[in-house]
Structures are given as structure tokens and as C-alpha cells.
């Protein structure tokens, strides 16, 4: 499957893109997407453990199964207000 991963703030700055596409196994979970993200974008190594992730605009845990075309977002610690 292919999933879209949105990148914001420092994550976007480190990668140099506002979104990327990841090719994953059909059984992939959010956790495996994160592992693939670090493998392809090692510059995210330090930031990623501090990030939360969402799937289809809802915060999600590593065990969340993904599906082809879903919208994943990497959410560094937020600072609105």
C-alpha cells in the first residue's frame, strides 16, 4: 500500500518536503510506517520519538492498522496559542 505522510514545522524543515509517500506492506501499522520513515529519512531520528502521529486527522497509537491512501501526519510537539 501507499500512504501519504504529512510533515509539519521542524519535521518539514528537516526533510525539506511538506509531505511524502511511503510504500508499505499490506499489513502495515502506524508503528511500521514510523520505522520506514526513520529508515528513509534518518534526519528525523532525534525528533520522531517526540512526535505524535495521526491517521485520518485523529491521534493514533503504533498498533493502528493503515490502509492504502490513508492520511498519516507526523505531529511534532504543538505550540499554538
Amino acid at each position: 500500500m501507499i500512504v501519504k505522510v504529512l510533515l509539519f514545522a521542524s519535521a518539514k524543515q528537516l526533510v525539506g518536503e511538506s509531505h511524502i509517500e511511503l510504500g508499505l506492506d499490506d499489513e502495515a501499522t502506524l508503528g511500521s510506517a514510523k520505522a520506514s520513515l526513520i529508515e528513509h529519512y534518518p534526519m528525523l531520528m532525534n525528533l520522531l520519538p517526540k512526535c505524535t502521529f495521526s491517521v485520518d486527522q485523529e491521534y493514533a497509537e503504533d498498533a493502528r492498522p493503515l490502509y492504502h491512501g490513508c492520511e498519516v501526519a507526523c505531529i511534532p510537539p504543538v505550540s499554538g496559542g
Partner: protein, 152 residues
């Protein structure tokens, strides 16, 4: 890119905007003959953090999720406090010193509910809504603000 994201019903209004926040319109929205108290909170860009000088803040927002989360925290506030109406707005893009980046207006029958709900709403917005600020310092450097994460 869509300029403005909005979500409005009779008692709740939410907006994410590139334009200046219209707090007068927010106060008109929350006005109600059932309310005896209205609280307006505004967050503004501060010039000094310690001795460092800020020239502006650049905000970035995951708009579709931010609107969803703002809606959720307003619904949660509604389950905690019997306020009449509430309006919440956040800027995205550049916010110069002195300008308003976020505003929350709450009306209620009595002031205690309006104060408590408004304080909880801004505290919770800052924790869960996917919006980020980048400090643009007077010395020309820039820095994303990520509480709890310090680059080494």
C-alpha cells in the same frame, strides 16, 4: 490552499484564518440574552522573551485536523460547563508583534463558568490542536517552538 477554515453552528464558532482575527464579530456571535457574562481571551505576539527580541511569529497549521480538534475540545468544554455560546479563532501565517494569534470568547449566565471554560479552552488548545509557531528573532534567526524538544 484554502484561506479560511470554518465550522459554525448556533452556539459554537471555529475559524482558522490568514487574516486578522475579528474579535468584535466573535463577541457579537457569543452575545445572548441568556448570558450575564462574557469573557474574551486574546493571545498576542510578545516582543520580549527574557532578553530576546521577537519581530514576528510564523504559524503553521494542519487545518483539517485543527478544526476537528477545536470542535472536540469545545464539545468537551460543553460537557464540563453550561456556557451559552463559544467562539474560537486561530491565525495561521505571519503574526506581527502586538497582533492577536488566538482568541476565545465564551458567554455564560454567570462569570465563573465563562472564566473557567475560557481558561480550560486555551490551555487545552495549546496542548492538543496541531498548530506550530516559529519564532523570528530580531537577530534574523528562526526557530520552531516544540515544547519538550531541544535540538542537541
Amino acid at each position: 490552499m484554502i484561506d479560511d477554515y470554518k465550522c459554525t453552528d448556533e452556539t459554537i464558532s471555529i475559524a482558522i484564518t490568514l487574516e486578522a482575527i475579528d474579535t468584535e464579530a466573535m463577541l457579537r456571535f457569543v452575545n445572548s440574552d441568556k448570558s450575564g457574562a462574557t469573557v474574551l481571551f486574546m493571545g498576542t505576539t510578545r516582543r520580549l522573551t527574557g532578553e530576546r527580541e521577537t519581530t514576528r511569529l510564523d504559524y503553521e497549521c494542519y487545518e483539517t485536523m485543527a478544526i476537528k480538534k477545536m470542535r472536540e475540545i469545545l464539545d468537551e468544554a460543553r460537557s464540563k460547563w453550561a456556557f451559552e455560546k463559544a467562539s474560537m479563532a486561530h491565525r495561521t501565517g505571519t503574526v506581527d508583534v502586538g497582533q492577536t494569534s488566538v482568541a476565545i470568547a465564551v458567554s455564560a449566565a454567570h462569570r465563573k463558568v465563562a472564566f473557567e471554560a475560557a481558561e480550560w479552552l486555551i490551555d487545552t488548545l495549546k496542548q492538543v490542536v496541531p498548530i506550530w509557531k516559529q519564532e523570528c528573532w530580531a537577530d534574523g534567526s528562526r526557530e520552531w517552538v516544540h515544547p519538550g524538544f531541544h535540538k542537541t
